[in-house]
Symmetry: C2
């Protein structure tokens, strides 16, 4: 089973159309992700993410290596005292890459998950995802859902929020 996902930028609030096709709101969340890297790690080989939400805080190591061996590209642990860790990182050679401040509305639509994300300084996005054995079939089904919501293929984006934020040149603190 693979997670298949398509993301698109939305200019107005599509929440109304999502509810119109029969999707059900499951939860709303607010997460603030701070991304750090070593100042000298120009290629961003290793990135640390500290994710804060009302529920818990997670520390994630994200590696860019994709070797032939089994290499873990992500490792996560729940933590406490994130502010102390951030101070220590910034005082010792790490720099903040960006912050993704995300308000999410998550809907379920049959086997699909539909997320509407409001990313501070970046805009509103929709993500439709599903677990599937058949990637091309799943992509076709997701495209169909997006079409029903009035979102055409030209609007699809493959990049994640971090590269989008870096390209946007948004300032953050």
């Amino acid at each position: 089973m693979k997670e298949v996902e398509i993301r698109a930028k939305i200019t107005d609030n599509t929440v109304a159309s999502i509810e119109r096709i029969g999707a059900v709101l499951k939860y709303e969340s607010h997460e603030i992700d701070d991304y750090f890297k070593f100042g000298k790690d120009i290629d961003r080989k290793l990135v640390l993410r500290i994710r804060t939400s009302s529920k818990k805080t997670l520390l994630t190591f994200k590696g860019s290596a994709k070797g032939e061996d089994i290499v873990w590209s992500e490792w996560e642990t729940e933590i406490e005292r994130p502010e102390e860790l951030k101070k220590l990182l910034l005082a010792n050679g790490m720099v903040k890459v960006t912050t993704i401040n995300k308000h999410r509305k998550s809907f379920s639509f049959g086997k699909f998950e539909i997320n509407v994300d409001d990313i501070k300084n970046l805009g509103n996005f929709i993500e439709v995802q599903v677990m599937s054995e058949n990637v091309s079939e799943a992509r076709a089904e997701i495209e169909q859902i997006l079409n029903r919501l009035g979102i055409q293929k030209e609007k699809f984006i493959t990049k994640g929020y971090v590269p989008l934020m870096l390209e946007s040149g948004a300032t953050f603190k």
Copy 2:
């Protein structure tokens, strides 16, 4: 209250003399500390330690910054799946600095703690420590205990196990 500590290298096993002066064995432990840094972090500004023992595994960020502001020089969290984290670090630009493989016998002697450490590839050490408001008084008391154990001032060392290991040029894996 500050932790005051003196360490010395011991050539033979001083455990017998420690017990003779009336210290009581509290516990024995075995810890393996793996130290990592960014390959490009030549000054070792930030070091990650993964400490494995029979009880639990700890991940510690150790910063070298000692600014005038309140800067956290150490941040620690309990973790699981350390082997996965190690693989991710080594595959993404971090290198192992050294490994400290330590068998410890810890004794209590009144208000003092006496540790006898057998460090693989480095030798045997004694550490006497106490929490005190008065550093110079505490140091004098510790020196007296060490003298009773036949360890004179010339044998005292101020360096930690990591710099000692690096100086020794010991190979490790």
